[in-house]
Symmetry: C2
Subunit: 329 residues, 2 copies
């Protein structure tokens, strides 16, 4: 009988887990709010309890092939070490896979969430027709993953694929949390869109906008969803902010194409749900910022398919890329 | 008896060729000035004559394993097609490897010069201790090559590794020949250094500088070598231009580290000969522009070792990476 894989997605706000079969079908899914404030022991306890519950729901240890875990970086996928993720207080240099393996006597693997999600899109999502993709998720941050030959590309220290911290404007007024000026996360992620909208409306204080009306001019209340909705309702400021976001992402993805020449680009995350107006601007910009314009303009730009539970799929994928490899070669 | 490899480096100003043994020793080297103005038939004729001469010097066709060729991009290494290099007038969609194979009945391979040089550095040059490197040559342009597992990484269309056209300043006043604003070639290559020096001295026209003296204030006569020499003599303007070049390269290499996390970076080309003042500034800048600063600052930054005839070594390497592969796996 085929064994199941447990996928665990550890985030700063929630911990999600699921049972995935080798065909990539999600059979069970559980989510709990992360008790991050309770410190390391508390949140690690939640992870362990969730795994225990899923093993039991899956029919016991003998029915489980392995436990895949994704978490925010920085982490080391080679050694299974969670280094120091900003959203998980107390998680410092945690030998996570070793702890999980010792506890459950099952193999465990660790991957950063961008890489895992990219892998899941290639194995089960929008990019099953491709082997080599550049994946990005644009939401609160900008995560990326490089998938080469249907496997995660790691680099020397296991930290490759931090493309979200590539600067497209070295003297930008916007500094990312990572310290870099003008990296794409600081310009195009959700909080950056909000900030740009706010700055624009503060600077041009007579400019009319639905964003003023809907926040009663409390501009600090603007959200990415509000910008999306206002743009749909025809608001010029909101449309401008979305176009600018598409332009920034286009400049950046053009660079990724110049460097990596992937078969396809997959874009996920909350911001990507804006859809056509954003994607159109990205497509229009890419050829303007690469030497390979005649190839670049044909590089497929795909919307991510795995939305809900993408982290669980990604984590489970860590045990399915090997199966994949065994089948193909 | 071990067979030799012929390496051919086709450039806009010269065509170089050589006989290389499997250990990477250059046994013969010949260079002729490219008769580019004579058009395609003329310059292709020069390439064919050079190969013919090297076959004969090598002891005949039976003593040659293959003919490696490197040329400026864009080209397709998979199909051996030279697409349309700006410096080789008339070379448009030339099936180069097919023509060479038909003529000499020997296997031929084609690669862009950045990739070939990077491969040669890993096989015989500065980076023999590494498998995965990011190579760049900074001279008239900025060429790059990504070497993964001691092989060239090509991407989908064979045009990966055009990192020289990554923009670090999307609204830069400097537009590259490729059309992109603020790509690293437009900011940091030799001609860009010269332009920045000229603009600075024009704008601050009372600023004293050796560059004025040595050109009798004909600032259009400034060369990269002159900037290097003036900096060595203590000239503040020249030193500033070199620091700025190092800063730009540092921002850009930080991005390449964020994306690729290579084991090492190898820097070649005329501009890299400036040495310590340039490398120091690059090293100082890299950690400021990447999230992975604790890894990034330890990524070795190596000066290229193969200087003269690097193109010939690179071209010959195309037949030695397979031997390499056979030995290792």
């Amino acid at each position: 009988m085929e064994k199941m894989i447990i996928g665990i997605d550890i985030g700063g706000t929630k911990i999600a887990g699921g049972l995935v079969n080798p065909k990539g079908k999600l059979l069970k899914a559980v989510t709990v709010p992360t008790e991050a404030a309770g410190g390391f022991d508390k949140s690690l306890g939640q992870v362990m309890a969730l795994i225990e519950q899923l093993i039991s729901q899956g029919g016991g240890r003998d029915r489980i092939r392995g436990i895949g875990i994704c978490a925010p970086g920085p982490l080391n996928p080679h050694t299974g070490l969670v280094i120091n993720p900003p959203n998980l207080p107390g998680w410092k240099n945690v030998q996570l896979t070793k702890r999980v393996e010792n506890r459950f006597k099952l193999p465990a693997r660790l991957e950063n969430d961008g890489n895992a999600a990219g892998l899941a899109e290639v194995l089960f999502g929008a990019a099953t027709a491709y082997h080599d993709i550049f994946y990005t998720t644009v939401s609160t941050g900008v995560g990326t993953g490089i998938i080469i030959n249907k496997k995660v590309y790691h680099g020397k220290n296991g930290v490759a694929g931090e493309g979200g911290h590539v600067s497209i404007d070295y003297h930008s007024p916007y500094r990312c949390g990572c310290g870099t000026l003008g990296c794409i996360e600081a310009l195009a992620a959700g909080p950056a869109m909000v900030r740009r909208a706010r700055v624009k409306l503060e600077q041009e204080h007579t400019l009319p906008s639905l964003l003023r009306e809907r926040t009663q001019n409390h501009l600090s209340r603007i959200t990415p969803e509000m910008i999306e909705a206002a743009a749909k309702a025809g608001d010029a400021v909101a449309k401008f902010i979305i176009e600018e976001t598409g332009f920034f992402l286009g400049v950046w993805l053009a660079s990724m194409i110049s460097v990596l020449d992937p078969e396809a680009i997959v874009i996920g995350g909350g911001v990507s749900r804006i859809g056509k107006p954003l994607f159109d601007k990205i497509r229009e910009t890419i050829p303007l910022y690469t030497i390979n314009r005649r190839f670049a303009k044909h590089t497929p730009l795909l919307a991510a398919k795995l939305r809900k539970n993408v982290g669980v799929f990604g984590a489970a994928s860590l045990f399915l890329q090997e199966g994949e490899r065994a089948e193909k070669n």
